[in-house]
């Protein structure tokens, strides 16, 4: 059990530091690379939670596709690579920091109040729960209509992105 806790804390500290890097970095490309660390960290947390299929989808879609899209966005908007401090931020940094800290405090207070003492118990049956077989069964039996709706949404997003970005 303690090995999982140690792994959790190492990954969590890396994720928290990289998340702060995403919102504080003065270089857009560095922010995208910090985002890769956060996303890979959450894939590792999914492995820790025995959700292997979600973890690999996270690696393929988030790190493989979404970050590449972000880098294309950075390239196409000619975002400056080297920037003096604060140029990428607006002038409400202090207020945003106060709001975010307040939100974090309130969320932590309620979470500790609601879920203290609840333990995640890692059992052998959970490996079966997160397997590709089980998830595929669930998607195509219980969630087949949401699945179809999501495929329509992806098609609409594809057409919409082409229609928006096309030069006439």
């Amino acid at each position: 059990m303690w090995a999982q806790e140690v792994a959790f804390w190492i990954i969590a500290v890396a994720m928290a530091g990289a998340a702060i890097g995403v919102v504080r970095s003065n270089n857009v490309v560095h922010a995208a690379l910090f985002l890769v660390v956060v996303l890979a960290g959450s894939a590792a947390q999914y492995i820790l939670l025995l959700a292997e299929f979600v973890a690999w989808v996270q690696v393929l879609i988030y790190i493989g596709a979404i970050v590449v899209l972000f880098l294309f966005g950075v390239m196409l908007t000619r975002a400056p690579m080297r920037e003096e401090a604060g140029k990428l931020d607006n002038n409400q940094r202090l207020a945003s920091g106060v709001v975010a800290l307040f939100l974090f405090g309130v969320l932590t207070m309620f979470l500790v109040d609601a879920f203290h003492g609840d333990e995640v118990k890692f059992k052998d049956s959970l490996v079966q729960l997160g397997s590709t077989n089980n998830i595929g069964n669930s998607i195509f039996h219980d969630y087949v209509i949401p699945f179809e709706v999501v495929s329509m949404l992806l098609l609409a997003a594809l057409v919409g992105a082409v229609a928006l970005a096309r030069r006439d």
């Binding site: 999982q4 806790e5 959790f8 969590a12 994720m15 928290a16 998340a19 702060i20 995403v22 919102v23 857009v28 922010a31 956060v38 996303l39 947390q45 939670l49 959700a51 299929f53 979600v54 996270q58 879609i61 988030y62 979404i66 899209l69 972000f70 966005g73 196409l76 975002a79 140029k87 607006n90 409400q92 940094r93 945003s96 920091g97 709001v99 975010a100 939100l103 974090f104 969320l107 932590t108 500790v112 879920f115 203290h116 609840d118 333990e119 995640v120 729960l129 089980n134 998830i135 669930s138 998607i139 969630y143 999501v150 949404l153 992806l154 997003a157 594809l158 919409g160 992105a161 928006l164």
Partner: protein, 99 residues
């Protein structure tokens, strides 16, 4: 292992993302902060899925990942359009709906 570990890490990621959405000027960075928030939600869903031994949380995490991909596609197309019209990716330049 207490489930609160995962929930508080997720709350931290969410609040960092919220800070980024409020404090960033560059539109690509705002989209990245939104990704942080969506990712925090996914961590919560998977943690509860394992805790309650119910696969629905993981299926919903997959749906959220799909929606995030669609959102980034559309979002970057809009960012590109803003850049093309205003010659700048900064969100505080966007002051009117009719360009």
């Amino acid at each position: 292992m207490p489930i609160n570990y995962f929930l508080i890490l997720s709350a931290f990621l969410f609040c960092t993302g919220a800070y980024g959405v409020m404090a960033r000027r560059n539109s690509v960075l705002v989209l990245m902060s939104i990704e942080l928030m969506l990712n925090a939600v996914n961590l919560n869903l998977v943690a509860f899925s394992t805790h309650l031994e119910n696969v629905s949380g993981q299926v919903f995490a997959l749906f959220v990942i799909t929606i995030a991909a669609a959102e980034v596609g559309i979002g970057l197309a809009i960012v590109l359009l803003i850049y093309r019209n205003l010659r700048s990716p900064d969100l505080d330049q966007v002051e009117q709906l009719k360009g």
